[in-house]
């Protein structure tokens, strides 16, 4: 019967999650199950694997395969200047305040393949702040961090990114930020000169610095409420007083225990400011 088959699938995935935690140290127990089950099913299809057993076998015998799995199960779909009004709001409402600090520290948490990171650096460059900003770009996945560092994106997206850039208040020639080559574009590496890339797991790691701005968009949606709370507390510990927190369009502080420490700066773009 299909229903029993499915609950068996779920049991197997639950067992796999425990084993991954033991073997590789990645803790998926606080991830939204609807998404995890869907991603695992999708991965099985992509790799033509017939069962969780087969997947399990491959995961624990091949760490590259595991890295690949990690990239697929944690969603890494992103784009430059996603939600242009968010970037416009950062440009108009947040950067002018950040510019009053002699030195600015930003945490891009869950930076994935770097599209959001490069969008941020372009904003900072145009505000004349890039030279005195240090950005910590972190992700659970080392493979996407390597990609983010490269700043190489498909040329096929550039028309869409260019229009989002202008919608986000960009005034320059967007193509001046990259060089084109064989269907790809490479963004100017000086944009990420002051960026440090390193692996950080929001589910298990702790706070590691103090920041004026934490950007974490469309990451919390993949977590259950309990893990969301852990991560929001982690951000709270990592923000200076009067620091800014930027979440995804459908993510909110409203349900969290830290919400009383924050004021809403821009409701529709989910930008919050920590109280003094």
């Amino acid at each position: 019967m299909k229903l029993e088959h499915d609950s068996l699938f779920e049991q197997e995935v639950e067992a796999l999650i425990k084993e991954i935690h033991t073997q590789y140290g990645y803790d998926f127990s606080g991830y939204s199950r609807a998404s995890v089950y869907r991603r695992v099913k999708r991965f099985l299809g992509q790799k033509h694997l017939a069962s969780i057993d087969e997947l399990r076998e491959r995961l624990f015998s091949d760490s590259f395969f595991f890295e690949n799995f990690l990239q697929e199960v944690t969603v890494n779909v992103t784009e430059m200047f996603r939600d242009p009004t968010f970037f416009l709001s950062l440009r108009e409402n947040v950067l002018p305040i950040l510019s009053t600090y002699p030195y600015i520290k930003i945490w891009d948490a869950g930076c994935s393949t770097g599209e959001e990171l490069f969008s941020l650096t372009i904003l900072l460059e145009e505000a004349g702040l890039l030279g005195r900003t240090k950005i910590y770009a972190t992700d659970i996945n080392q493979k996407v961090l390597r990609q983010a560092k490269e700043g190489i994106f498909s040329a096929s997206h550039m028309a869409a990114y260019t229009s989002s850039y202008y919608a986000a208040g960009g005034k320059r020639d967007f193509s001046s930020y990259y060089t084109s080559n064989y269907g790809n574009v490479k963004f100017d590496s000086s944009l990420v000169k002051n960026v440090v890339f390193y692996p950080h797991n929001l589910a298990t790691d702790t706070s590691f610095n103090e920041f004026h701005l934490v950007v974490c968009r469309n990451v919390l949606i993949y977590f259950n409420r309990q893990l969301q709370e852990r991560v929001l507390r982690l951000f709270d510990e990592s923000l200076v007083s009067l620091g800014y927190l930027a979440l995804g369009k459908k993510e909110t502080l409203a349900m969290s225990g830290i919400s009383s420490n924050y004021s809403i700066l821009d409701k529709s773009n989910r930008i919050y400011r920590k109280n003094s």
Partner: protein
């Protein structure tokens, strides 16, 4: 006896807004089954769908918020640029992964996820549209023992989407908008 319907998921594309409005307009404010509506729309565009639906419906029309519980008397609209998934505890999750059938939100994604959680208690309704999205998800609902309804393609503004479902699902129920409305009213528990 047919299993109780505990969730209605409705999908539409071109012509889907009008069709879904006509169906939902007739439902009482305390309608006993939660309704989730996945309509294709332009990406990165702030729709005023919620406004349109709020004005015309007696039901409460809200955009899906992640981890919020599903409640009767509500029509939940899939937000632009996110897929809508269902958790075992009958709350929503949102997902910004790859487009499916060139769409996010995708009807297939929500239909399949609904069937995984609500099984035979799921009803899927596929309305007008020029896309291929929705038919495989509707088939999955049907295979899980749920009810698969397609809008009569001859009545739909664009019949492609319901037609695709009818061709792939033996046992798909074909109804026009007026019949779908009556059918939903007959499921309402006072």
């Amino acid at each position: 006896m047919r299993p109780l319907t505990k969730l209605i998921v409705m999908g539409g594309s071109w012509g889907g807004i009008q069709a879904s409005l006509s169906i939902l307009e007739g439902l009482p404010p305390d309608y006993s089954i939660p309704i989730v509506l996945v309509l294709h729309r332009l990406r990165n565009q702030e729709g005023n769908l919620q406004e349109i639906f709020s004005k015309k419906l007696l039901l409460k029309a809200v955009e899906v918020e992640e981890k919020e519980p599903l409640l009767p008397g509500h029509v939940y609209l899939a937000p632009a640029n996110y897929h809508v998934l269902f958790e075992k505890d009958h709350t929503f999750s949102l997902d910004d992964s790859e487009l499916e059938n060139y769409s996010r939100p995708s009807i297939d994604v929500s239909f399949s996820s609904a069937a995984d959680v609500f099984g035979k208690n799921t009803m899927g309704i596929l309305l007008s549209g020029a896309s291929r999205d929705g038919s495989s998800g509707l088939k999955y609902i049907f295979e899980k023992g749920g009810v698969a309804v397609a809008q009569d393609p001859s009545e739909a503004e664009v019949g492609t989407m319901p037609q695709a479902a009818i061709e792939s699902i033996r046992g798909c129920t074909i109804m026009n908008v007026a019949r779908i409305k009556e059918f939903l009213l007959s499921l309402h528990e006072h």
